[in-house]
Amino acid sequence: APLSQINQQDESFAKNYLKTFFNLTEESGPTVRRGFNPAAVKLMEMQRFFGLQITGTLDTDTLAMMKKPRCGVSDQKVARFS
């Protein structure tokens, strides 16, 4: 069931979600890795964990799952405790 269209605010929200719960880190400096989009990889991890369709893109189902009330412990198991 479609939600509203995904906008820039949603994308920013999703990025923060992935940083908080899937240990997404923002790359800085001149390093360019071809064919590697860390946000898409983390998005796929999240979609796999929740049994969503694995697209690697921010779709409405994925965004809806991100907006559900949840526990604040990272889903990347060791991230918080390593």
Partner: protein, 369 residues
Amino acid sequence: TFGGFKWEKNSLTYRIENYTPDMSAAEVDDSIERALQVWAQVTPLRFTRIYNGIADIMISFSRQAHGDGYPFDGPGGTLAHAFAPSTGIGGDAHFDDDEDFTFSSNRGYVLFLVAAHEFGHSLGLSHSDDPGALMYPIYSFSNPETFVLPQDDVNGIQSLYGANEDPVEPRPTAPPTPNACDSTMTLDAVATLRGEMLFFKDSFFWRSYPQSATPQQTRITNFWPNAPVNIDAAYESQQSDRVLLFKGRQVWAFSGYDLVSGYPKPLSSLGLPKTTKKVDAALYDVASRKTLFFVGSNYYSYDEAKETMDEGFPKRVDETFSGMSGKVTAAFQYRGFTYVYSGPYMFEYSLRSGRLFRVLRNSYFLRCT
């Protein structure tokens, strides 16, 4: 688990440092105590409350930044967090006081449920990807009075601490999360939704996308918070772009995620006799724009456009669906074929001719992955 982190002792202390204004102190005390007992019932772990000093599990309510480097985010979003077993902050559980916690209501977040989940972390459990598990990271309301720890969580905690040698008898067991690989499973209902297939069982349903081999399992109430569980029947009205769920003498209609105003309604609002106790299955026929309601050994035909029941019904099921002698348990239509379920079997028909093509199993559409 968090790589096997666990307490090296079975006697643990806890301390409630402060209270939320949402509930009385007695309600908080009771919620916390019962949340710890959830884990004590299935392990050798025992919990003792202390009122000052440092406990293994320090429990507090706070807002925004609260000194641990993981600030809360205001209402919604993160409800609470907890730290894996270790000294210092290890084991501690923090609750976001910008949330509306409750003792047992489904308005707000039941503190007992949130705390039981967090204490799972305090004892060494990570998140589960089983949507029926307490350790699934998404909050889902359930009645705290009838709560039973799901088997996935029992397995997790017992992998760390072993079983309770002195269990309370009879030990309650939670129904396992339905498994798509169970070839004996009888689905409650099957429906379509904007090109997807929905398979309902107990409190859950699977969504199956034509382009994906893996069905996605979700709690019904995570998708439709106002929906019933353990439903009898479901169908998608392509006429009104709604999904209708049936349970007992009532029908619920959803448009997207939202319950349509005025629902739930009695079955008689669809023209079914007032004596009808339940609908066993329902399907929407795209060609005729009629909906068939299966009730016992009969079925009715409902005109979606006119919103009236067709004349000449009910008819016997086996009058139209040759060979269907068993009870119809679910039904839907896909790519012009009509699928009628009876137990774990699915019968493929042409609705126009009534011809039976194949007898298949659940796994034909609901794949075991």
